[in-house]
């Protein structure tokens, strides 16, 4: 198994994963989407809401706001020593009290833990008119994407097999395919048509379709995956991959333990 990083920042990551089966790549993808823990607002205690939105609408909007928290410092409510009743080890409390006229932003939430913060401070929650008021307490808890999308930190997490063009002898170098490529990555090198950058290819197959002689075929390398995903800001992408791999490892170990006991 080999990993070659193509692009990496705190919010986006792209790498070439080679020498693995599709099952392995898919396991990593699913772990990233559904198993990596994240903090999100899970419960609201609404004291006063005279805004135009229903309590439920506000609850959904607040749940989707990404929250940055060190997930190693918090427990899942069901695994916490308090037995799921709620304590400072498994939940964070945000308070909000705003009177109109103003727009209430995610940045107006005041956290009980100074290290747990909202990632984007400029997300509008609701616009209040003169005399309208929103007063509530929000409880943030740790969870995983399998349970609800608000606990999913990986965005647009997907992979494709690395594509390449196979050219038959029918090719007369008419260059139609080169011109047809919207990304400009089909080119003639040494008298042969080639896909120069398979990573960038969007698999549109325009080059294949424009060829009058049916000389081109888009093929895939079944053991190489161009893997990409983004983070919603609650965690760094590098931390997310490591977390996902560790979760996979734990699951496999658990399985092998069960199998040994049979």
């Amino acid at each position: 198994m080999e990993i070659e990083i193509i692009e990496q920042s705190d919010s986006k990551m792209r790498f070439l994963l080679s020498g693995v089966t599709p099952a392995m790549a898919n396991a990593l993808r699913r772990a990233l989407i559904a198993e990596v823990p994240k903090m999100a607002i899970d419960e609201l205690v609404v004291y006063e809401n005279t805004s135009a939105l229903y309590d439920e609408q506000i609850a959904l909007r607040m749940a989707l706001i990404p929250i940055k928290a060190d997930i190693r410092l918090y427990y899942f409510p069901e695994e916490c020593r308090c037995g799921g009743k709620g304590c400072s080890l498994c939940q964070v409390i945000f308070t909000l009290d705003e009177v109109g006229p103003k727009t209430v932003y995610s940045g107006d939430l005041k956290s009980s833990d100074p290290d747990v913060k909202v990632v984007n401070e400029k997300i509008p929650i609701v616009k209040l008119k003169e005399g309208q008021r929103l007063r509530l307490e929000a409880i943030g808890r740790l969870g995983i994407g399998k349970k609800h999308a608000k606990w999913q930190s990986a965005i647009a997490c997907a992979y494709k097999n690395l594509p390449h063009l196979s050219v038959t002898d029918e090719c007369n170098l008419c260059m139609k395919c080169v011109k047809s490529c919207p990304k400009g990555i089909v080119d003639e090198i040494g008298g042969r048509i080639q896909l120069v950058d398979g990573v960038e290819c969007s698999l549109c197959k325009l080059c294949v379709d424009t060829c009058d002689r049916n000389a081109l075929k888009l093929e895939f390398d079944e053991s190489k995956f161009v893997f990409q995903f983004e983070s919603d800001g609650s965690m760094k992408t590098s931390e997310m991959v490591i977390e996902a791999v560790n979760i996979l490892k734990d699951k496999v170990e658990e399985l092998s333990k069960i199998l040994e006991g049979l």
Binding site: T50, S51, A52, L53, Q57, R61, L64, I65, P66, S106, V119, N120, E121, K122, I123, P124, I125, V126, K127, L128, K129, Q132, A149, Q152, I155, A156, E230, D232, G233
Partner: protein, 62 residues
């Protein structure tokens, strides 16, 4: 009503981009503003492009 917090399809946070987007669209082409804001996928672009802010109309009622 209010701009959705995230893109319905991919989950990217787009709520925080709305105010800048709607302001800049008054004298710039929307496509260019979206490119500037780093909204690349068409699922996220339609979230901002097709949004109708109705909150001012509705907030007269409680």
């Amino acid at each position: 009503m209010m701009i959705p917090v995230r893109c319905f399809t991919c989950g990217k946070v787009i709520g925080d981009l709305w105010e800048e987007f709607s302001k800049r669209c008054e004298n710039e082409p929307p496509g260019k503003v979206l490119d500037d804001l780093g909204v690349t996928r068409y699922c996220c672009r339609r979230m901002l492009l097709t949004h109708v802010e109705l909150i001012d109309l509705v907030s007269r009622y409680e």
